[in-house]
Every structure is written in structure tokens, then in C-alpha cells.
């Protein structure tokens, strides 16, 4: 599924942070978002995932096409690895996808371990395995490689590439170089919201 974004403006805590954002992400493509801390990467991704409304602009794909993965993995510490993943598979109605997802993220040996006993990197891998069970075409990933070691990053790049080859697309905010040659890079610095003109004309939103 193609994603095209036009003139998108997003706000954090009622204050516009990005405006006029536009990009195209065709099926099979990957786009990496760059920009300094606090420039609005997370806000943009949450807006695309449908967690908050945009101030203005158009997003061509519905939130139902997107699989969002944020800073937190949403794991339940007392459930085992397999139970955590099986839960998401039944939520997305994709039972049967857990096994390939677990082997793709190299989790097969940890199946019966409660999630609370996993290391940070292992938790992250479990969080990313969830993307595979969603079966959604557009991946919206916020810092997906945090706490992954070099080998796991390679694993992650492999599943992203497989996803792209299967006709999916991925939108990522990340600081490290993934070695994903086909990914384009979009620097958000150019879209930072300008502070509005001088006071006087307070509009409805006081901003």
C-alpha cells in the first residue's frame, strides 16, 4: 500500500512542532526520518498511526493499514514470550503467524521464558516480532533499534527487507545507519513549525 502525506502539521501539547510535511512512500519502499531530539519525530509517527489528530493536512493511508511500534514494547512481564506474541496474534486475527515471527527474530529458544527475565535487547526483539504478526502493510517504527546489538540490528534489517519485498513499506525514525541501502532519508529540520507572527491576533487556540 502506498502512503502519501501532504501539508501535514502536527502539534505536541497544543504547540505546533512540524508543518507542511510532505512525502511519498510507495509500496516496497522505506523511509528514514532524521532530525534533532524534540523536533517532532515521535509526534509525527503517532499522528500517522492515528493516536492523535493532525492539525491539518492529508494522510492517504488509514491508521488501520499501519503497524505502530513506539518506545515501549507493550510486553507483559509475567507472560511468557510465546503468550505475549500469541495475544497480539489473536487481537489481529492472525493466529499461526507467531512461530515464523519468533524464528525470524531469533526468539525460538526463549519461548517459555517470562518476559520479565529477558534482557533489554531480547525484549526489543520480541516487540519487533509483534510487527510480523500484525500482518499490516505499513510499518511505523519509532527508534526500532534501541538496545539492539549489531547482530540483532542485522536481524531487524533482514525482516524489514523481507517485508519490503513482500510489498510492504516501512517508515522509521532512527539515528543509526541501518545499512538499508534502499531506504531514503527525510530530514524533518526543514519542516519545523515557525513561531507565528507577533502577538495581537490571538486565535481560538491561543497559539
Amino acid at each position: 500500500m502506498d502512503l502519501s502525506v501532504r501539508d501535514l502539521a502536527v502539534a505536541r501539547g497544543g504547540i505546533p512542532v512540524l508543518e507542511g510535511v510532505r512525502f511519498d512512500l510507495p509500496a516496497g519502499g522505506a523511509l528514514v526520518l532524521r532530525g534533532p531530539n524534540g523536533c517532532g519525530k515521535t509526534t509525527l509517527l503517532r499522528t500517522l498511526a492515528g493516536l492523535q489528530p493532525p492539525l491539518e493536512g492529508r494522510i492517504s493511508a488509514p491508521p488501520e493499514a499501519m503497524a505502530y511500534a513506539g518506545h515501549a514494547d507493550g510486553l507483559k512481564p509475567t507472560l511468557t514470550v510465546a503468550e505475549n506474541l500469541r495475544f497480539w496474534a489473536s487481537v489481529y486475527g492472525t493466529a499461526g503467524r507467531e512461530a515464523p515471527a519468533m524464528s525470524a527474530m531469533n526468539l525460538s529458544d526463549l519461548l517459555d521464558r517470562p518476559a520479565q527475565t529477558l534482557s533489554a535487547g531480547q525484549k526489543r526483539r520480541l516487540g519487533l516480532a509483534r510487527l510480523l504478526v500484525t500482518g499490516r502493510p505499513l510499518w511505523v517504527l519509532d527508534e526500532p533499534t534501541v538496545s539492539l546489538d549489531a547482530g540483532s540490528v542485522g536481524l531487524f534489517v533482514r525482516i524489514v527487507r523481507a517485508h519490503l519485498e513482500a510489498g510492504g513499506a516501512a517508515l522509521m525514525a532512527t539515528h543509526i545507519d541501518l545499512g538499508l541501502a534502499e531506504a531514503r532519508v527525510l530530514d524533518l529540520t526543514a519542516y519545523r513549525a515557525r513561531p507565528r507572527a507577533q502577538a495581537g491576533g490571538f486565535d481560538e487556540a491561543f497559539a
Binding site: I15, A193, R194, P195, F202, A205, F206
Partner: protein, 246 residues
């Protein structure tokens, strides 16, 4: 030219600014007339004696306590539907006034009840309903204060006000079911207008209008303060953004 134009903060400030002193003056004048008339120029009641005069504080404040909640319900709905910030801020500004009115009604009720019923407090349905209303006001105000982001706070308090209104109404009927009370019937009602002697009725009407005007004056002043506070916040944010951009 639509009524909604006045929901623009700037238009609201420009329009209400010159009105506030007049409303304050009218409220003060009517309050003085109503209370002096009521307290000093009415005859003693043949049963209740002089204590009956507390009615001139008790009834208007009780009436306003309920009306203010209804006003908050309406402004909350306007905020949820039309997203006018002034509306949300007016609801926020009205809540402490409503709480004050509820407390005044409860205290004057206790002062009145002591000589009449021989007790400061009974678990009478009307009294209990007011105590519950008091709790609703406190919860509403506490929720406003607990949430940092102003738009989130406005949204959540509006939802609470909606749900709370339904439950407040249900509580009222539940409380009537729970206990039949000591409290006399409504002091004024359309069906039994002659229940209260004319000598009391007109000063009471005056006090009711005065309390209404007092509320309008207070809510306008408080809403203007809220708008100014939001502007200051917006200006500070702007300044911070500009520093960041430079």
C-alpha cells in the same frame, strides 16, 4: 454576524471588558436592596420568627448552586462540539463559584435548621443531594487542577461534567427513594405561588436576581483571568520557540 463570534477570545475580551463594571455595580446595588429589604423591612414570620430571614441567602445560593452546574454542562457541551476555548474556560471559571454557592447553601441551611429542627444536619434528601453536589464540584475542580495540558484538561473535565450530570440526577432520585425528609417543599413554585407571603416574595426575587448577576459578574471576571493566563502561557511558548529557532 453570528453569536458564535463572541466565542473568539479577543472578541470576548473586547466585548465583556466594558460590561464588567456595570454588571458588578448592578449586582452590588440589587444585593444591597434585596438584603436590606429582606433583613430589616419584612415582618417576622408567625411560626419561624426572625430566623426565616435567612431564606434571602439560602434560597438564592441553593438555586445558583444548581444553575451553575447546568451552565457548566452547557458550556462543556459547547466545548466538546464546537471547540470554543472560551466555553471551556468559562466552565472552569464557574466551578469554584458553584462550589462556594453550594457551601453557602449548606451553611445557611444548617444555621436555619438548628433553631427550626433542633439540629444542624439531618440526612434529609435535599440536604444529602446538596452534599453530593458539593462532592461533584470538588471532583470536577480537582480534575482541572490535576491535568497539565489545558486542552486535555478541558476535554476530560467536559466528559466528567456530562457523565457527572447524569449521575447527579440519578443520585437525586436515589436519595429521595432512600429517605423522606424534614425539609419543607420548594420555597417558590409556579403551582403554589401563594405559599409564601407577598411580603417575603419580592425581596426574595430581588435577591435571586442579585445572586444571578453576582454570578455573571464573577464568572466573567474569572473567565477573563483564565484567558489572560492562557495568553501569557502562549506568549512564553512563543518566546521559547523563537529562542530555539534563532
Amino acid at each position: 454576524m453570528s453569536l458564535w463570534e463572541y466565542a473568539n477570545p479577543k472578541k470576548f475580551m473586547d466585548t465583556t471588558g466594558p460590561l464588567v463594571p456595570w454588571i458588578v455595580g448592578a449586582a452590588a446595588l440589587l444585593m444591597a436592596v434585596g438584603l436590606i429589604w429582606g433583613f430589616f423591612l419584612t415582618p417576622d414570620d408567625f411560626r419561624q420568627g426572625s430566623t426565616v430571614r435567612i431564606v434571602f441567602l439560602h434560597v438564592p445560593s441553593a438555586m445558583m448552586a444548581i444553575n451553575i452546574w447546568v451552565m457548566m454542562l452547557v458550556t462543556s457541551l459547547i466545548w466538546l462540539i464546537r471547540r470554543h476555548h472560551v466555553s471551556a474556560l468559562a466552565a472552569k471559571a464557574a466551578a469554584p463559584i458553584g462550589l462556594a454557592m453550594t457551601v453557602i447553601a449548606l451553611i445557611t441551611g444548617g444555621l436555619w435548621g438548628q433553631p427550626m429542627w433542633g439540629t444542624w444536619w439531618v440526612w434529609d434528601p435535599r440536604l444529602t443531594s446538596f452534599l453530593i453536589l458539593c462532592l461533584f464540584y470538588i471532583g470536577y475542580i480537582a480534575l482541572w487542577q490535576a491535568i497539565e495540558d489545558p486542552d486535555t484538561a478541558a476535554d476530560l473535565t467536559a466528559v466528567l461534567c456530562l457523565v457527572g450530570s447524569v449521575f447527579a440526577l440519578m443520585s437525586r432520585y436515589a436519595v429521595w427513594f432512600w429517605s423522606q425528609g424534614l425539609h419543607q417543599g420548594a420555597s417558590l413554585s409556579l403551582q403554589s405561588g401563594e405559599r409564601m407571603a407577598a411580603a417575603y416574595r419580592w425581596p426574595l426575587y430581588t435577591c435571586m436576581v442579585a445572586f444571578g448577576l453576582l454570578f455573571v459578574a464573577l464568572v466573567l471576571i474569572a473567565t477573563r483571568t483564565e484567558i489572560r493566563a492562557r495568553r501569557i502561557k502562549a506568549l512564553q511558548t512563543r518566546a521559547r520557540l523563537r529562542e530555539g529557532a534563532a
